[in-house]
């Protein structure tokens, strides 16, 4: 089971945090800080794995991948395959890239709601839900469409047309 997905920037600021086993908010922050402490000291061209049992308790594994200014971190237990998780990180990023055409950190900050929606289409309850990027993009677009359709009928003066205005 995947226990958490964390995206943070190279200064340790969380950009997306989702825990699939509940942690109180202080604990979440503590974990994020600890992980950042380990990640920022790692050189390039090392493996993508970190011993996580001292951080998350026995049986926990951690893979991370760095993209420009962002760390993508997945924490999971031994029932998942490490490399498959690493592939999933890659899929997640590819999907973000498709949705935001050339994604950057700011996209994730400003479309934080959309990133959450995308993640929910990839992982559900700590299990891999969908691995095909085109399927995920299709599902997310559908949600955006619904969003727009419904907003259009609202009597809100300004245009709040959701995701796909980009």
């Amino acid at each position: 089971m995947i226990r958490a997905v964390i995206v943070m920037n190279d200064q340790g600021k969380p950009r997306l945090v989702k825990f699939y086993d509940y942690q109180p908010v202080e604990k979440q922050q503590e974990l994020i800080r600890t992980i950042y402490g380990v990640l920022c000291s790692r050189a390039e061209n090392l493996s993508n794995f970190i011993q996580a049992d001292s951080i998350f308790g026995p049986d926990a594994r951690l893979v991370y991948k760095t993209y420009a200014t962002l760390y993508f971190v997945f924490i999971f237990d031994s029932s998942e395959n490490e490399l498959a998780m690493l592939d999933l990180v890659q899929v997640f990023v590819e999907i973000l890239d498709k949705c935001f055409s050339n994604v950057c950190e700011l996209d994730i900050v400003f479309n934080f709601n959309k990133v959450h929606t995308i993640l929910d289409e990839i992982i559900l309850g700590g299990q891999v839900l969908e691995t095909s990027s085109s399927e995920v993009v299709k599902a997310v677009e559908e949600i955006s469409k619904l969003d727009r359709a419904s907003n259009g009928s609202m009597l809100v003066p300004k245009s709040i047309s959701g995701w796909t205005s980009r």
């Binding site: 969380p14 945090v17 989702k18 509940y22 908010v25 979440q28 790692r42 061209n45 090392l46 493996s47 993508n48 011993q51 049992d53 026995p58 049986d59 031994s78 029932s79 395959n81 490490e82 490399l83 498959a84 690493l86 592939d87 999933l88 050339n102 950057c104 950190e105 700011l106 996209d107 900050v109 400003f110 479309n111 934080f112 709601n113 959450h116 929910d120 559900l124 309850g125 299990q127 891999v128 839900l129 969908e130 691995t131 095909s132 990027s133 085109s134 399927e135 599902a139 559908e142 619904l146 969003d147 419904s150 907003n151 809100v156 300004k158 709040i160 047309s161 959701g162 205005s165 980009r166």
Partner: protein, 1026 residues
């Protein structure tokens, strides 16, 4: 950076608030406006859009680490919004913020259910996502059937069905009963025929969860899994969007192989053959390529295939192919694959006999210790640790020692611990072991725990051959200019004990030894000072004839520290000073330390414990657990007939302590491996004992070690004196007939133990079972001491506890074999759940020679053990007594046929059961009033009051009133006291008539038929006899 992030919704609101570079702290944006946000959220008349906006913001500040419980309600209420956008926000935010036990979720459960059973697929998706993320037991009970319907429905879109599959998985985890095995296994099989790979991926995840719980019922899924694998491996009917870097859905392949690992074996030859074909294809057809992502994906599949091959116990050929592959992996450039290669080698060692093949890669693995990546270095260390055996221990440990000086701090502790364990487990000779540990302390003193140096002292003390060598080594280390404090401790200790063995060597006269140790004195901490003082006293003792100069020097130090602020040091200084003036008498008191009782190394135990904790919960783990543990521990060979021990270590094979009878075959394999096991007579006891022993023995006791020695030799660690004069009195209570006659009366021993906390429970010519108990509240910690009295081992030892319903008892593992003249300690935990008089029974059996002996013993975990003293004053007693009025809390009974006894005897009897008599409370001098507190899990601490009204004219009858806050307790306590009052000692008057009391309640099993008090109270016995 993108210019056109001018989107709607939150984007805009963030922008307007932001207006600055995002890299400036968000706290300016989100942190300070929390009060604003709070106000906003509780404004009346918010448009749904505004509500939505604030809830999103709330999620954002939650991510930044702020508690947003003020907004939980808002988020939950959005779930029931009619419009999709609000609903979506409500669902998503709720499932991120709340946990499954949150009360607010109950409010939403109806809406969620309506959305799931409704016709709107988009709503269904939202609801399923919420339940799949945070659904708890309540959701499981009310929603599982609906979710199952969605999953198997043919009219639903794949998008809904795959979510339903994972949602069901969550509900199953929360409450396994929601999936009815009989009905569902067929459905599950059908689900695996699914064409849509998205639904199939989710379904296989669901299968993994189901199978890990109960693989038998899902056997029909096994061929389907193989079919899926074949379909993917051959790339048949795999849509383009599910091909990832040219590989047909690596996730599905991995998951399917994972599912297969939960089935113990594959029996059907056809299925097995086709599976092996696929696996062979994967093993052979994977190459390292340029593209990192493709590499990762293909190797994800490959490593999973390796794991599956290991699990299936493939043919030797395929295995060596796997090892060869792993050997290739650990040298590739790609760090991820190196990492996993090392990890899988370690895993492979755990499950099968490939040690020899892996040893060929030893050099490469050692190189990996110097990898730039700490993750890889750690894996290499793990692998070296698990591949170490007696043949390569020297190389590996020396390599680890060398690495220690350059290793990063994060690893040093683990490294030194592992080196110490390996050195102990596989030492080819003990002087090497001493070398290693001293080097370890020298190189990484800060990371060497006390356990490690205590252990080396134990070895040196117990092996005479080793003592001069160790002393010499310690002396050498002291010459170094700067040494670690631990080194000071260990060398001072060893030199204090054994420096006289070095006497004739240059630089080793007592004076020189003293001065070199004393050089370190000013820099050490108080705990070391204490050790140094002992060392000085010992040096003084060994200097014969006394050297006045040295004597004065040392006395001066003692005098100085007589006024030390630290009590321990002060006491030592004062005592040593006084003792050392006694001249020859000193010799007796300060003689060499006796041998330590042997026990399992606390280090090895620690290592085993952590292994047990971290091993993965999978099929592989289950199999490893069934294998024998090959831990090497040390035995002591006690000179049975006065001869001195021959070798320092005797190597004996010890069968594993767990699951012994299930895997004789495995044991055979393990033995064939050639790993040596040394028996330790002491099973894992509290590891603190080692420390206690050492520290205890550092201070001067009475005549050295006689107590320990005799205790140890007699094979019993107990104070309880075996009353051998009763040897012929056989008490066949609850005892199976066997050819061995117990020594002493078992019933009497039991009764005696009802009153005291330690003593002998059972003894026969072969074995002595002692018991030692510590009772705290409703918890009891018992230790069973199983002592083998023979010079041959006792085998097939089995101890089974038959606890009554009110006690929860946990006996730690009892070793199958008790080595000759050894004693084994087995801790037993007792928790008292509710009041009851029933008694637990120990069913014990062992085999000596060819005969099997079996007997059942009552364990002295009786009602009175859970009583604790309390003194109640008259002011407290009477209000309590009055407030407990009448049955069932207060029971009264006239008891006849009471064993006549005086009031003083009765008071003594009560006090011995910790029912404390409160004299003077009752104005009538013929009455006895007592109070106590009873502890159990259900009642907690509960005050009990007892009043006995006696009739001075007829001592055989009395009226008894018992009161407490719990009806069962009152009844049980009343019956318990009654039993004590009317019963008659059985020991001397053989078959006594059953006392005329009736037992209206409670199973009669193992009821003591005689009174413990009777034995303990000589007055009572006398009274009974008269």
């Amino acid at each position: 950076m993108q210019a056109n992030y001018v989107s709607g919704g939150c984007g805009i609101s963030l922008m307007t608030l932001l207006q600055i570079n995002v890299h400036q702290s968000e706290t300016g944006l989100f942190g300070t406006p929390i009060p604003d946000l709070f106000d906003h959220m509780f404004q009346a008349g918010l448009t749904p859009y505004e509500k939505k906006k604030y809830v999103w913001k709330m999620l954002y500040i939650y991510m930044l680490g702020y508690d947003v419980d003020f907004g939980h309600m808002e988020a939950v209420s959005l779930i029931s919004a009619p419009k999709y956008p609000e609903k979506q926000v409500g669902y998503l935010v709720t499932s991120t913020l709340l946990n499954e036990n949150h009360d607010f979720l109950r409010l939403a459960i109806n809406t969620v259910r309506n959305d799931i059973i409704g016709r709107n697929e988009t709503f269904q998706c939202l609801a399923l996502t919420l339940v799949g993320n945070i659904g708890g037991r309540e959701f499981a009970e009310s929603l599982a059937p609906d979710v199952q319907k969605l999953l198997i429905s043919s009219s639903c879109r794949p998008l809904v069905r795959k979510k339903a599959a994972l949602c069901l998985l969550r509900l199953f985890r929360k409450n396994p009963d929601v999936v009815n095995v009989d009905g569902w296994s067929d459905r599950m099989t059908q689900l695996l025929d699914e064409r849509d790979l998205g639904v199939l991926t989710s379904s296989v995840s669901l299968l993994v969860a189901l199978v890990s719980n109960n693989h038998d019922s899902y056997l029909s899924c096994l061929p389907k899994c193989v079919k899926i694998l074949e379909r993917l491996a051959r790339n048949q009917d795999v849509p383009q969007e599910y091909t990832y870097y040219g590989i047909p859905s690596p996730w599905l392949q991995v998951k399917t192989m994972r599912a297969l690992q939960y089935f113990p074996t594959i029996e059907d030859p056809n299925t097995r053959r086709s599976l092996f074909e696929v696996l062979q294809r994967i093993l052979m057809g994977t190459d390292v390529v340029k593209n990192v992502n493709k590499n990762n994906a293909s190797h994800a599949v490959l490593f999973e295939a390796l794991a599956l091959v290991m699990h299936l116990d493939a043919e030797k050929e395929m295995m060596s192919q796997c090892v060869a592959l792993l050997g290739k992996f650990i040298v590739v450039r790609e760090p991820n694959i190196r990492y996993l290669g090392l990890e899988n080698m370690t895993r492979m060692l755990m499950v099968m006999d490939v040690q020899d093949i892996i040893k060929r890669h030893q050099a490469q693995i050692i190189t990996s210790l110097k990898d730039p990546d700490i993750s890889i270095r750690r894996r290499a260390l793990d692998l070296l640790y698990s591949m170490c055996d007696i043949s390569n221990a020297k190389d590996i440990v020396e390599e680890l020692l060398q690495y220690l000086s350059t290793a990063d701090f994060a690893m040093r502790e683990e490294l030194s611990l592992k080196a110490a364990i390996l050195a102990e487990k596989f030492a080819p000779d003990l002087s090497w072991y001493v070398d290693v540990i001293l080097q370890l302390i020298d190189k990484a003193g800060d990371f060497v725990s006390d356990d490690i140096w205590f252990r080396v002292v134990q070895f040196v003390t117990n092996n005479e051959d080793l003592q001069p060598y160790a002393a010499l080594k310690a002396r050498e280390y002291l010459d170094k200019p700067a040494i670690h404090e631990t080194m000071v401790k260990v060398s001072a200790y060893i030199l204090g004990e054994y420096s006289h063995l070095l006497n004739r060597r240059p630089g080793c006269s007592p004076k020189e030894i003293f001065s070199i140790i004393h050089e370190k004195f000013p820099t050490v901490s108080t705990s070391t000072v204490a050790i140094l003082l002992s060392t000085y006293a010992k040096i003084l003792m060994h200097t014969q004839p006394p050297d006045p100069e040295l004597q004065n020097q040392i006395w001066e130090i003692f005098t100085k520290y007589e006024s030390c602020i630290d009590v321990e040091i002060q006491q030592r200084a004062a005592e040593y000073f006084a003792l050392s003036r006694k001249g020859a008498a000193l010799m007796d008191i300060l003689a060499e330390m006796p041998k330590f009782p042997e026990r399992q190394s606390s280090l090895i135990k620690k290592a085993e414990d952590t292994e047990a904790d971290t091993a993965e919960q999978s099929a592989i783990k289950l199999r490893t657990q069934q294998q024998t543990s090959n831990a090497l521990v040390l035995t002591d060979q006690h000179p049975a007939n006065g001869t001195t021990p021959v070798g320092p270590l005797s190597l004996v094979k010890m069968p594993s302590m767990n699951n012994v009878d299930h895997n004789l075959a495995d044991q055979g394999v393990a033995q064939a491996n050639g790993t040596l096991t040394v028996v330790d007579p002491q099973p894992p006891g509290p590891s603190a004992n080692v420390i206690g022993d050492l520290l205890g023995s550092l201070a001067i006791g009475g005549p050295p070690g006689t107590a320990t020695q005799t205790e140890h030799n007699s094979g019993s660690g107990l104070g309880g004196a075996p009353d051998t004069e009763d040897a012929l009195a056989i008490a066949p209570i609850e005892e199976h007939t066997n050819t061995v006659q117990p020594i002493g009366d078992i019933a009497e021993r039991f009764l005696a133990l009802c009153l005291k906390d330690s003593g002998v429970l059972y003894e026969d010519p072969h074995i002595q079972i002692g018991i030692k108990a510590d009772w705290r509240g409703h918890h009891g910690q018992l230790v069973l001491f199983l002592g083998n009295k023979n010079t041959a081992p006792l085998v097939a030892v089995q101890a089974l506890i038959l606890p009554p319903a009110h006690l929860r008892m946990e006996l730690s593992l009892v070793p199958e074999t008790i080595p000759p003249r050894a004693q084994v300690q087995c801790p037993l935990e007792v928790v008292n759940l509710r009041p009851s008089r029933d008694v637990a029974v120990l069913d014990f059996s062992y085999k000596f020679g060819t005969q099997v002996f079996n007997f059942k013993l009552r364990l002295p975990a009786t009602l009175n053990k859970f009583l604790q003293l309390i003194t109640v004053s008259a002011e407290d007693f009477f209000p309590q007594w009055r407030s407990l009025s009448g049955p069932p809390l207060k029971l009264q009974e006239v008891v006849r046929g009471v064993r006549p006894m005086s009031l003083v005897e009765m008071a003594n009897l009560f006090n011995s059961f910790r029912l404390i008599v409160c004299p003077g409370l009752d104005p009538n001098a013929n009455n006895v009033v007592a109070s106590t507190t009873f502890y159990s899990e259900s009642t907690r601490a509960m005050l009990c009051l007892v009043r006995i009204e006696t009739d001075p004219a007829d001592r055989t009858q009395l009226r008894m009133t018992v009161a407490s806050g719990d009806p069962t307790l009152t009844f049980e306590l009343k019956e318990f006291i009654k039993e004590q009052l009317i019963s008659i000692p059985t020991a001397s008057r053989a078959p006594s008539p059953v006392p005329p009391h009736t037992q209206p309640m409670g199973p009669p099993q193992a009821q003591p038929s005689s009174s413990p008090a009777a034995v303990s109270d000589p007055g009572a016995i006398l009274a009974g006899l008269l």
